[in-house]
Symmetry: C2
């Protein structure tokens, strides 16, 4: 991915929010949809866009499609995410919702594909306050 494309990933707010989430670990499309409260089509299109740019890749796992940032993550991207999280509370908020959502689905029988499920355990430990509405 060239630097121009890298900046395109960050130049649109919904795209940035998705990249911000995926930087913490892989997620399925429906999880992103839940965490960000955005429509399915918008999520799917932005993911396709990011995939075209080479920023993310995915593989199907049964009913789900697991999305991840393409490795290795460009240090320029990582540094920008770090700086952006410091300045825009929304991004930090999204990360909290991410942990909350993962913790919320951790108890379900088959909550998510393995790579996502692994994070649920972590989220359980770090997200004791319930801060997303899907937690039952």
């Amino acid at each position: 991915m060239n630097t121009g494309d890298l900046y395109l990933c960050l130049a649109e707010s919904d795209r940035l929010r998705i990249v911000n989430l995926l930087a913490e670990g892989p997620l399925c499309g429906c999880h992103i949809q839940n965490i960000l409260s955005l429509g399915q089509v918008k999520i799917s299109k932005q993911l396709a866009y990011l995939k075209k740019l080479g920023a993310v890749n995915c593989d199907r796992e049964a009913n789900w499609v697991v999305y991840r940032l393409s490795e290795p993550v460009d240090p320029l991207l990582a540094e920008n995410l770090r700086l952006l999280r410091l300045r825009s509370p929304g991004l930090a908020e999204d990360l909290k919702n991410r942990a909350g959502f993962l913790a919320g689905i951790a108890h379900e029988e088959k909550p998510a594909p393995e790579p996502v499920q692994k994070q649920c355990c972590i989220a359980m430990r770090f997200c004791h306050e319930k801060n997303n509405k899907d937690t039952k």
Copy 2:
């Protein structure tokens, strides 16, 4: 300027090159044109775009229009320029050409508006090797 617009400034290579030059100090459109060897219309349009985003501003000085980065320069922009210069030799090259060009016009009777002219003195001191073709 919001962060999305900031990244738009960096997402196109010609635009990035212009911002990179202006980060070192104000320049006229024709100077940018010379340093980057790009067409007048393209320069003018990208400058208009950057002005629309709020990244640059300008004021007319006789026949010239002096462009500057809008103050204060966002630290996020500055940091990205710093990192980009380390990874893309082209940007560092442009800066050398910038210094070479300014040194080259330093001896002319009326080389440029005052804000640009001031940098010519600096360029004279720092640019002893002649690395641009306009130097006569």
